[in-house]
Symmetry: D2
Amino acid sequence: MYFASDNAGPAHPKVLEALVAANTGYAMGYGADPIMEEVRQMVRDMFEAPDAAVYLTATGTAANAILLATLANPWDTIFCAPMAHIQEDECNAPEFYSNAKLTLVPAVDAKMTPDALRAAMLAEQTRGVHGPQRGPVSITQVTEKGTIHTVDEIRALSDVAREFGSKVHLDGARFCNALVALGCTAAEMTWKAGVDVVSFGGTKNGLMGVEACVIFDPKLAWEFELRRKRGGHLFSKHRFLSAQMKAYLTGDLWREMAISANASCTRLAEGLRGHNTAELLYEPQANMIFVNLPRRDHQRLMAAGAVYYTMGGDPATGDPDEMIPARLVTDWSMTNEGVDQFLQILRA
Amino acid sequence: MYFASDNAGPAHPKVLEALVAANTGYAMGYGADPIMEEVRQMVRDMFEAPDAAVYLTATGTAANAILLATLANPWDTIFCAPMAHIQEDECNAPEFYSNAKLTLVPAVDAKMTPDALRAAMLAEQTRGVHGPQRGPVSITQVTEKGTIHTVDEIRALSDVAREFGSKVHLDGARFCNALVALGCTAAEMTWKAGVDVVSFGGTKNGLMGVEACVIFDPKLAWEFELRRKRGGHLFSKHRFLSAQMKAYLTGDLWREMAISANASCTRLAEGLRGHNTAELLYEPQANMIFVNLPRRDHQRLMAAGAVYYTMGGDPATGDPDEMIPARLVTDWSMTNEGVDQFLQILRA
Amino acid sequence: MYFASDNAGPAHPKVLEALVAANTGYAMGYGADPIMEEVRQMVRDMFEAPDAAVYLTATGTAANAILLATLANPWDTIFCAPMAHIQEDECNAPEFYSNAKLTLVPAVDAKMTPDALRAAMLAEQTRGVHGPQRGPVSITQVTEKGTIHTVDEIRALSDVAREFGSKVHLDGARFCNALVALGCTAAEMTWKAGVDVVSFGGTKNGLMGVEACVIFDPKLAWEFELRRKRGGHLFSKHRFLSAQMKAYLTGDLWREMAISANASCTRLAEGLRGHNTAELLYEPQANMIFVNLPRRDHQRLMAAGAVYYTMGGDPATGDPDEMIPARLVTDWSMTNEGVDQFLQILRA
Amino acid sequence: MYFASDNAGPAHPKVLEALVAANTGYAMGYGADPIMEEVRQMVRDMFEAPDAAVYLTATGTAANAILLATLANPWDTIFCAPMAHIQEDECNAPEFYSNAKLTLVPAVDAKMTPDALRAAMLAEQTRGVHGPQRGPVSITQVTEKGTIHTVDEIRALSDVAREFGSKVHLDGARFCNALVALGCTAAEMTWKAGVDVVSFGGTKNGLMGVEACVIFDPKLAWEFELRRKRGGHLFSKHRFLSAQMKAYLTGDLWREMAISANASCTRLAEGLRGHNTAELLYEPQANMIFVNLPRRDHQRLMAAGAVYYTMGGDPATGDPDEMIPARLVTDWSMTNEGVDQFLQILRA
């Protein structure tokens, strides 16, 4: 009953098998390994982007920050939702790498609306050299509240960015969870919808720690490479990143894992919907649920060993009827038994 | 016959076994995994430093840059040898993380001399607020030329740093190769010799990609943690870093691997010494050899499949007698057969 | 009829006389001039702060950015009102100097409320190392909307900052306009109300270009000096900054000029209040008025030579009855004739 | 007898007259003042560069750092002489503004040689993404040792820069002193010799504090403007910078002052050459002399009120015969009497 995060579960066994298989003899370092050759092509194929530059980093924060720095000037402001990971959970990494600032765009269901984005972009740069300049727009897919932008919603935001000459970054830490939920292709969810660069996440979906950075305009590639190295994110024994990503892409393992995570989430959400004290705060669309539960329920769940985060309010002490919001995340390895056990305790 | 780098060889099988073993069930992320608890204690034991703060990063550049940034102010200058990795091979990462600059101190056998360090430190800060201020001293052990500082040499440099109130960083990407060569303890080579923070390398010595950052003064720990996160170097699935480091420390696997790498180097160096066209440029003390060979030898070796870097001069075309310097690095997995084959071709 | 900005008017003739007087013979540079000795003491006297460190910069952006960088770590967030100069009008200078980010705190009448500040400070740092850390609070006095914090309001904000261990910066670009409006002392408006560092503005109040940076805790002084130099803001011929500030402080010239500017504003505001088409957007308390006027009024005023900024909407074309907001700023040199002429044209 | 620095003397009276004349009525700020219109054209005329972008900053460090940041990427290294002002006297300002690092190129008579520059540029970027990339070359004219590059020497360095695709910055803090010494035009000493951007100094040559930044490729202009603002170096009451520079350019006042300063230097140097204990360390070519004098001479001079800097060795105590180097700088306001008095005391 571990719902704290999708980065707390194990890697898929195939990922470790791939590491073991890769661990023979010598291989050139720093991305010049032969497995990376294959990965580059596989990512291009998946995104239907034969010219895309493809790089790997080991953390999502690195992927986001380096990609954004490649798009933003130091005097720019980056537009994102107030609850974006780059705003709340990266300890100023985007600002560190880009020297730009962030402008928080009002969001509905954790998604910037095109009108709010346009208003924010209009408001910037009315002051000439005095204010920050318009930089890239960053969209989080799946959002930090578990909702998903439709392809049309992504396109609508990209269109606004284009009006102002801005580029678009997609923070796809949970890219695959969105992709299987939408049932579209990677190309449809990205460059066909106006996205310029993608953090294509693997860590939250069954890898040990790898994200692919997909840059559709190869003219940006060399700057990305320099920024990655300068940030200390270029791996010498790179084959161990490549091998993970190859396993991810082989036989669409990513799809199998994302479907599994989302299915556990759906099962859990249905159970919660059927429970009288539970109030879903957002419509769960991928593998995350935000739900209000009374303190008494939290106490019973936690006593039984359920692990997850609550936001605001101490679940341990206080009025047993007070509602306390919680985040429940399911990963690929979650079993129906785990979900059912959670629901059973909740209903007890 | 792969002598290009000690980051091109495989990880030790025990490292992969440890990853597989760690890959069960859920574990808290971001360094709160139980394996890291063990690792922290094992590193403290190894360094006889019960209060030390211990962190893991996945690359040596990250370890160096974040540690130096924790010691240096943006208006400081960091003192190092001209051939230091932080000067030549990190694409400005130390400057990026610290905003400080580097002062290159003349070196003999790739080691700063205490007199040269004192002169450099005296020369800085004669200009009050106008010039850079004195920041930390960074010592590379093993040096980038394959030589080793004795414990007394480290202490002599630390003593100079102390005269000026500066802290000392040890870039120990090849820490274990030095340790087994000197036959001293980790404590003797570090805090007992005046070192404040250590990049304790694992990647070049048989891990997939882990370095431990050892900070003897725990008051610096929180700043390090923030800088690591802000740099995108805090791993969510941290147990996979912890597991590697635990395998490294268990049964002194690090020692076994370093001894193996150094032994291959010694065997190779002896063979080169006995060869009439080879001129050793530095006294090989760990697992790296710099050697001058005539072009004809390079051509014969490379044609036979030997892989290594030459510096300056194209080995492929030109006067067959022209001497061209090469770097030969041995890693833990190098076999006697590989070394002997190389020597045999050289002598042919 | 020039109401575009208080930085568009002339310097007071006494300021230029002081420059001429200072322009004799040689003087040590970089702040070691004898006039600065006097200035340092005069500022300390004015602020009743015998230990304060006092420095000069030539621009307000420099004063704000360097002071904030002296208080903030790179992983911090600085709390300010959404319309703060540091947010809107400094092209990321605070972020550039500090590497920190800004958190925008909801404001009423352009003033952060203590409750909103507390809520914002509570919301940060709920994520440990993952989110930005709490940095300093920056209060703008006079606000960018022409309102003034009472001493109690400043203290209430400082008290919230203190709850969280944060320091307080006062952006006093219009410090003197606030001081004469409140009728309090510089000490009462700053350190007695919990302020740690002050940008004490001169440029907008009759100097050519000088702000004093007042740092009540002298332990921060050396860092400020290094940051000022590193930013290129340490003047070699410093006596020409010192002379301006000395003229400002001599015989309370600052007071005379601030009273004059505020009086013109009051005269203008009264005239606007009596005009049927004018809607004051904020209560003018210092030397700035924000007022809605119909386009037809703007056109008449501008045709007659009035100079000022409108916000949103083109005054030149469109519905003559549409209300368009304008900012009117009065400086020390504004005459009653100028004000009356403006009002007369408005009423015509 | 004040030879400490050319930034310690007064501004020319015409400069203050210009300030007084500019101090009437209102003027648009931030460089939109009408005087700046004139200045822009005058600088373009002087440099025979009708398309050049021209900006003003108040300090030379700002001019250098912002110009270099406009040319350099954060992963670059800037090539300069070891005694360059940007290396020794700007407290990391170039690194702060550009995030690049500096590579020190061996110099003869304080001037990089083309061969040394080529060697340094070849040595960089042999490591691909691992090392810093080649950035701009910065030439100091007059050098920090009082020597001057001939136009051919500048061209030779620029040619090397061009070989590697690098741009050239000229730190002309003493631009006019060099210009009158060489007897060439501003165009000949800059863009005709391959220079891309110039810090055209006024502060050390009789202004209160203004440098012009001359950018021959106007495509770089907007980035410069943003960087200047972001650094806090855009003046609101800009007319007071413009007025100084206009006075400087009117009737070639810059020339008159530079000739005066250089003449005093020549007179002083001749006197020193004729003195048996004085050893000139560099051939004085502009307005700076580096000379060895025995301690007894320093003591006699200083006792008589001469003010100047010595380097290394305490002039006050020690062997009276020990030679101690000194720097003697003459500014435009230095009189023959001052020079002769100094020489007389020396000879006494």
